[in-house]
Symmetry: C2
Subunit: 412 residues, 2 copies
């Protein structure tokens, strides 16, 4: 692992000074290699699927593991999209003269070496590699043991593409061992790795955050709320509450708790409950909700801190917006929270006072996504407060250094 680290560190210097056109050429060359290697990719993936079945992986995991032709197409499109994004590296912001006569600005530069630790889905190999490559970083990828053959087949295509563009092949390396000790080493070598991005279940991310000796860009829970204000437009309120919960269940930006102002609970909840019931969403509520909806299950304290990732919704009636904000900041996961209202002053307060990476007015929490935000792609959604908050795209994989220009200036 230290050998991989040393090579990545060396490669990162070459990547940092690579020209935009070379990086784009590499991305498109990798796309071509993937196209040309469809047979090899499917074969490697079949081996992973077979050993997965032998090891008794469940069908959801096997589904995520499968590299269908459509998924290979998506990887190719992903590479083309990232090639088309503007290159953030080298842009200089806020260049200005200061009273001493020197000129100061901030130049965007790569972070250096990024370690990505992920589970099952082999297409993450391309999603992560393409963003790291475009942002001028070197990357060490550590996928799940169940997808090792697929990841290596993809990595072979990446290596060929990098070589074609004259970029260092060690800019993208895949850890070839499935040994768990390897992860422990990867996250504890600050001399070679600048930041770790874990992608996977909460257990994995908590373990890594606890043991890492380098900064981690992480995303734990997505306990997202929608608050329906008494000044909400009723049809917007219903549409957003339904969309945020039921558009997709297993995603981090799905609503898990609905908060409803007491003055409109009697009006809104029965209508919402009818729709949720038709779709098959189980409702758990506070005592007031259970009064209005007799078939709702009584929610426990545990429900307010649970990310169901499924067709379950907790609902609470609140006295006013202040109680809604207090509930969100206390029980939420600082991910994405929305309010539905037509009230101008309250909307301003909600935007300012809710301490989440995305705060929304009259929009579904499902919009919290790098593509929807116009980042082009995302490596994850950060619920951290420092560095990057919310969807992390190319900019989140860079930082800014100061550049100073003088004409022989010395400090008096």
């Amino acid at each position: 692992m230290h050998g991989l680290g040393r090579k990545a560190r060396e490669a990162s210097a070459g990547m940092a000074k690579a020209e935009t056109s070379d990086k784009n050429r590499a991305l498109l060359a990798i796309a071509e290699e993937l196209q040309a290697a469809r047979g090899a990719l499917r074969k490697a993936n079949a081996a992973d699927l077979e050993s997965g079945r032998e090891r008794g992986l469940d069908s959801a995991l096997l589904d995520r593991l499968e590299l269908t032709d459509a998924r290979i197409d998506t990887m190719v499109e992903n590479l083309e999209q990232v090639a088309a994004l503007p290159d953030p590296v080298g842009t200089i912001d806020d260049m200005k003269y200061v009273p001493s006569g020197i000129q100061i600005g901030q130049m965007r530069v790569p972070l250096g070496v990024i370690g990505i630790i992920y589970e099952s889905r082999p297409n993450v190999t391309i999603e992560a590699a393409s963003l790291c490559l475009k942002s001028g970083n070197a990357v060490i990828l550590r996928g799940g043991s169940e997808s090792i053959a697929s990841n290596q087949a993809i990595a072979a295509c990446v290596q060929k593409g990098l070589a074609k563009a004259g970029l260092p092949e060690a800019a993208v390396q895949v850890v070839e061992t499935t040994d768990r000790v390897a992860v422990g080493t990867l996250i504890a070598m600050p001399e070679y790795v600048d930041v770790i991005v874990p992608r996977g279940g909460k257990g994995l991310i908590e373990r890594i955050s606890k043991d890492a000796r380098v900064p981690v860009i992480k995303h734990l829970d997505g306990i997202c709320h929608v608050y329906l204000d008494d000044r909400a437009d009723v049809s917007k309120a219903v549409n957003i509450a339904i969309n945020a919960k039921t558009h997709r269940y297993g995603v981090c930006n799905a609503m898990e708790t609905l908060l409803v102002h007491q003055s409109v609970a009697d009006q809104l909840l029965p209508e919402l409950a009818t729709q949720y019931r038709e779709i098959g969403v189980e409702l758990r509520g506070c005592s007031e909700v259970c009064r209005i909806l007799p078939d709702a299950v009584a929610a426990t304290e545990e429900d307010w801190v649970t990310e169901y990732l499924g067709p379950v919704l907790s609902i609470k009636v609140v006295a006013d917006m202040d109680e809604a904000i207090a509930h969100i900041n206390r029980y939420g996961s600082h991910h994405t929270d929305a309010m539905v209202t037509e009230d101008y002053s309250r909307s301003r307060r909600f935007l300012r006072e809710v301490d989440s990476s995305s705060v929304m007015i009259n929009a579904s929490t499902r919009f919290a996504d790098g593509f929807e935000y116009g980042l082009g792609a995302e490596i994850g959604i950060s619920t951290d407060k420092i560095h990057a908050r919310g969807p992390v795209g190319l900019l989140g994989l860079t930082s800014q250094k100061y550049v100073v220009l003088g004409d022989g200036h010395i400090r008096k």
Copy 2:
């Protein structure tokens, strides 16, 4: 310590939504309190000085510990300056419509609760508190045990000022125990503290970085370089090389290693050596330097990684700019590095390829400073790569959350 943490977390919500005028009123009220409490401050400080002498602290430490009238004046000015700075909190950048019809921007928000751990200088209490307060954060300050009485006297003024402006008094808390265990607790309670800023010696910072369970904005060494290119203007080269080393010795942005292009070494080094010798700087050099300057001491590998913080300079002759850049990126501390040259293309490459928080052309490394950069004040200089790099001012104590405005938009 958990009690302090809980109170700080509560206060941080009040600080995050505080209006700019209230924060400024608090800063100016604290300044008035300090003015009014000069007697009490001097008395508390005298007690610290006395017990410091009893414990046998050396004179440099006692000097840093002393709260002279001039230093109280500086604290007052510092508060007034920070009050005059623009408030970053709530500013929204890049507000734009995206194809789905929603509008997206990034709002600058406080980090939350900041823990500051520092040594000896009691004026850091005000420097740190004023920046945290203006940026809408709550702060827990843990000063050195030798300055405990001074810090508590200052804290009393801070509390009164906060109360006068109607801000939560727990927004600034000083740890009252000198127990070392308190530090261990402070850096390991992510539920109450969002980021730690250690200010002090390398040993302190390394220990904290190793044990912290929350992100650390840190600054380890300042091993700064100046590279004199063969296309340098001779008088700029000499002025900058002298200023960067001798303007002040004990500061992190002082030059520790001088790199000289081989073609100009015979010309520049004797002249520089004469000036350094007059000022009393010891010179240690590579074999080529020792050939040109017979009285220079032979440098060892250790010299290239040493932050002297005193009148000692290591010098190396390099073949070209590439060797200079390689030396800086290998042996430096990614703090501040400068090149003196009149060559346009080389200056562009140096700025891009040197991986340091400040990279300079034709300016003294001594300019790497929050005041010189126009940040108004600084809480420290970060040599980290993520979040803030270089001098950290108000912006470094904030991050950005996404705000999304819609008109009932749902995800299709």
